[in-house]
Each structure stands twice: as structure tokens, then as C-alpha cells.
């Protein structure tokens, strides 16, 4: 229970827990909708989902500052490609949180003249850009690791002596000719933070894709994606070493 307390004491931990609950409700609704006699349960799940979703807005208030700080940190990244991607991503995140705050003000009745749909679209657009740029950064890092892994395979070819020359050469060749998928899998396995971040961004991107109408996945897919990304978020809060760090 001590671990649970420490976990939930962090706002991010509680928020991810509620997000997981929200998307689990969405997934369960999708699974139970077609079943007869489960209308009451589906109604309850919908109410839970909407109250958790509106309650989570309180967790996001003030996150503009977090995003601005993250932008400042990403400007100092060593590598130029991640620096560009992350800075632009975090700038988009700042605008997303500003739109989110405006929507919160509308929902509590402080800003009655705000056009909700317009601001929702704006928020979704910036969230989409943030996720795309984060994925771009992830792909760059994956490519970097793949190139390193391929170099390691080529290096192995030269290491042993002349006597075993053709055998070693054979080994090196097979390393290089290994299917890229296997190489990709191996390099991701060696870098769990990168794997987790990629999975999280891929799952999250379904949400703005649906909101912007670019792609219409079913409620179940969105729910599953949201649940997976929330679980990944919870893992990075519980184990901070699993968070992808900017070099």
C-alpha cells in the first residue's frame, strides 16, 4: 500500500490511473454494447467515463507551465534532429494545453462565449502535431540504434583471425543480412524506454486521428490504444528509469 500511496501522490500517477479507467470503460462499452440486457451497465460505464474525463481536466490545469519547461529543456538537447523535433513537439503541446484550459473554462461556465467545437478541433490538431513529431524523434532514435547494431554486425566480421577468415566473414554477412525486422526487434529490446515511448505515441495518435476525422477506428480500438498508453505512462511514473531521456 505504501507503493500505491507514493505512486498516487504524484499527480501524473493519479492522472494515468484515471486515464486507464476512462479508456477501460470505453473498451468495455464497446464489448458490451452488442450484448442484450447490458444497457444499464453500459449507461453506468458511460457515466463513469464522462465524470472521470471531466475530472481529469483538473489534473491538466497548470500543465502549460510543465510544457513550457519541457520546451526549454528540449532546446538544450545535444543532437540536432531530436532537438528540432522535441522543441516543435513541446511548442505544440503548450498550445494544446492552452486550448485545453480554454475548454475547461467553458465547461465550468467561466467563458460562455467560447465556441467549443472550434477549440476542440484546435486542441486535437496541436495534440496530433505533438504526437507526430514525437514519433519522428522515436523513428530517428530507432534508425540510429539500427545503424549501430548493423555496424556491430559488420565489426564482428573483421574481429577474428585469418585462419577463421571465411567462417567469420560468413557470420558477419548473416548478421547484416538478418531481416531488418529482427534487427529492429533486437535493438528495441535493448532500449526499453524507446520501445515504451514509441508504443505510447502510436497508441495515443489514434485519439486525435479519430477527433480530426482522418481515420475512424472503432471505439474498441481507441479504448484499447488509450488503455495501453495509460499503462505505459503508469510504468514510466512507477519506474522513472523507463522514461525516455533527452541526451
Amino acid at each position: 500500500m505504501d507503493a500505491f500511496t507514493r505512486f498516487t501522490n504524484q499527480t501524473q500517477g493519479r492522472d494515468r490511473l484515471f486515464r486507464a479507467t476512462q479508456y477501460t470503460c470505453m473498451l468495455l462499452r464497446y464489448l458490451l454494447e452488442s450484448k442484450a440486457g447490458s444497457e444499464k451497465l453500459v449507461m453506468k460505464l458511460k457515466k463513469l467515463e464522462s465524470s472521470v474525463s471531466s475530472g481529469r481536466k483538473w489534473f491538466r490545469l497548470g500543465n502549460v507551465v510543465h510544457a513550457v519547461q519541457a520546451t526549454e529543456q528540449s532546446i538544450r538537447a545535444a543532437d540536432p534532429v531530436p532537438r528540432l523535433c522535441l522543441t516543435l513537439a513541446n511548442l505544440n503541446r503548450v498550445v494544446y494545453f492552452v486550448c485545453d484550459t480554454v475548454l475547461w473554462a467553458k465547461s465550468v461556465g467561466l467563458a460562455s462565449r467560447v465556441h467549443r467545437e472550434r477549440w476542440q478541433l484546435r486542441a486535437a490538431r496541436h495534440y496530433y502535431c505533438f504526437l507526430l513529431l514525437s514519433l519522428l524523434r522515436d523513428l530517428y532514435e530507432i534508425a540510429l540504434h539500427l545503424a549501430q547494431a548493423a555496424d556491430r554486425g559488420a565489426g564482428g566480421e573483421k574481429a577474428p583471425g585469418d585462419a577463421q577468415g571465411w567462417q567469420a566473414g560468413d557470420h558477419g554477412e548473416s548478421e547484416r543480412l538478418q531481416p531488418s525486422v529482427l534487427l529492429l526487434f533486437r535493438s528495441l529490446k535493448r532500449h526499453p524506454p524507446l520501445l515504451l515511448d514509441t508504443v505510447k505515441n502510436l497508441c495515443d495518435i489514434l485519439i486525435p486521428l479519430n477527433q480530426l476525422g482522418l481515420c475512424r477506428p472503432s471505439l474498441g480500438i481507441i479504448g484499447l490504444g488509450g488503455l495501453l498508453s495509460s499503462l505505459v505512462g503508469m510504468v514510466t511514473v512507477a519506474y522513472p528509469q523507463m522514461k525516455l531521456k533527452t541526451r
Partner: protein
């Protein structure tokens, strides 16, 4: 900005900010009503207050476990009185949060059969017991500190003044017996001065006393034991929220057992 990030990262901090905002709205609503502001504005403030209240209930969803954990830790304290007061206070707080969770389930439509009024009264009762325990603990700590302070004072007087017996105005003991009312008044004055000195020397204790005293008005009003009105409740709630935000920003201000 870094300070805000670290502050906001604690979920309790965000909940305290929402609490301060909620009671500020309550106070503002009362002030606007007294000065005859437009019903539109009053409605907006009331709506914001109810949103804040519901939002806080969600933010507090895991707090029962937190309170139970604190009660578990308090059981190991050495002082018997402190152990009793703090443990019972945390247990009551855990029950208060549990009732609060039931209220949230009712308000958000998950458990529509929940009797809001009954559970609200229950929750405020547990909150009141918890505050009474907190104030008892504060009173005990103050008494201990006052005894320490008065014995330290009398030791200093004995060592500096060469032990004049029956001396006039020594805080440890007073000279001529049977002075009646003036002597009682003097005794009371000295006690009050000693109390002021003790509280001045221990800011965490002073903060805790003020906070608990302010908080006490809320359940007293809601349970109908002492109807102070929404203005007083709002002001006291705002003051206690600000004080608890201070203890989060400056951890040395938090009263440690």
C-alpha cells in the same frame, strides 16, 4: 517555474489549490449576494464552486489509502497521547474520505441510489472527530511546551537571581497565597504570555492550531451545530487552505510528531 512544476507534481498540492479556489468562490458568492450583484454572476460563481467541489472529490479518490498508511505509521509513536490522538485522527480521516468517495459515486451517476444528505452528514461527522483529535493533539503539545518553557524560565531565574524565595512575579510560582481576583488575573496573564511565547517559538504548531481551528467551523456549520453562515465558512476554509498550501511549499512548517 521549476518550483511550480515541483509543487504541482504533488497531487495534494493541486487539491489544496482547488480547495482554496472553492472557498474563495463561496466567500465571493456571499459577498456578491450581500452587495446585490446580478443573479447571472452569482449563478456563475455557484456553478464554478460546485464544479470545483466535484473535481476535488475526484482528486481525492485515493486518499483513504493515504490516511490508513499514515495511521499505520502513527501507531509506532513513542508518546501514548500523541499515538492515540494522531492514529484516531487519521482513521477518522480515512472514513471521511471513504464517505466522500461514496458521495462522488452518487454525484457522478455511478450509484444513483445513494442518499446524498445522509452520506454528507456522515462524512462531516468523521471530519469533525478528526479535527477534534487534531486539536487535542495540539493542546497536548502546547501543554508540554508550556511546562518545558516555565521550568526553563524558573531554572534561569534561580541561577541568575540567586534563588529569592517568595519572589514577586516569578513565573514558576507566586509569592503570597490568597490574593483573590487580582492574583488570578495575574496568573491568567502570565499563562497567556507563556502561551504566546510558546506559539511564537514554534511556527509549525501555531500554523496547525490556526488551521484546525479554522477548519472546525466547516463541519460545525454543515452539521447544524453552530450556524456561522457561508461567509465565515468561506473565509475560514480559504485561510486553512492557504495555510496548508504554505506547509506544502515550505515542508519545515509542517508539524511533525
Amino acid at each position: 517555474m521549476d518550483a511550480w512544476v515541483r509543487f504541482g507534481a504533488q497531487s495534494q498540492a493541486r487539491e489544496r489549490l482547488c480547495r482554496a479556489a472553492q472557498y474563495a468562490c463561496s466567500l465571493l458568492g456571499h459577498a456578491l449576494q450581500r452587495h446585490g450583484a446580478s443573479p447571472e454572476l452569482q449563478k456563475q460563481i455557484r456553478q464554478l464552486e460546485s464544479h470545483l467541489s466535484l473535481g476535488r472529490k475526484l482528486l481525492r479518490l485515493g486518499n483513504s489509502a493515504d490516511a490508513l498508511e499514515s495511521a499505520k505509521r502513527a501507531v509506532h509513536l513513542s508518546d501514548v497521547v500523541l499515538r492515540f490522538c494522531i492514529t484516531v485522527s487519521h482513521l477518522n480521516r480515512a472514513l471521511y474520505f471513504a464517505c466522500d468517495n461514496v458521495l462522488w459515486a452518487g454525484k457522478s451517476g455511478l450509484a444513483p441510489g445513494v442518499d446524498q444528505e445522509k452520506w454528507a452528514q456522515r462524512s462531516f461527522r468523521y471530519y469533525l472527530f478528526s479535527l477534534i483529535m487534531n486539536l487535542s493533539r495540539d493542546a497536548y503539545e502546547i501543554r508540554l511546551l508550556m511546562e518545558q518553557e516555565s521550568s526553563a524560565c524558573s531554572r534561569r531565574l534561580k541561577s541568575s537571581g540567586g534563588g529569592v524565595p517568595g519572589g514577586n512575579g516569578g513565573p514558576g510560582g507566586l509569592g503570597t497565597p490568597g490574593g483573590g481576583l487580582p492574583q488570578l488575573v495575574l496568573k491568567l496573564r502570565l499563562r497567556v504570555l507563556l502561551l504566546a511565547r510558546v506559539l511564537q517559538g514554534h511556527p509549525p504548531l501555531l500554523l496547525d492550531v490556526v488551521r484546525n481551528a479554522c477548519d472546525l467551523f466547516i463541519p460545525l456549520d454543515k452539521l447544524g451545530l453552530w450556524r456561522c453562515g457561508p461567509g465565515i465558512v468561506g473565509l475560514c476554509g480559504l485561510i486553512s487552505s492557504i495555510l496548508s498550501i504554505l506547509t506544502l511549499v515550505y515542508p519545515w512548517l509542517r508539524l511533525k510528531p
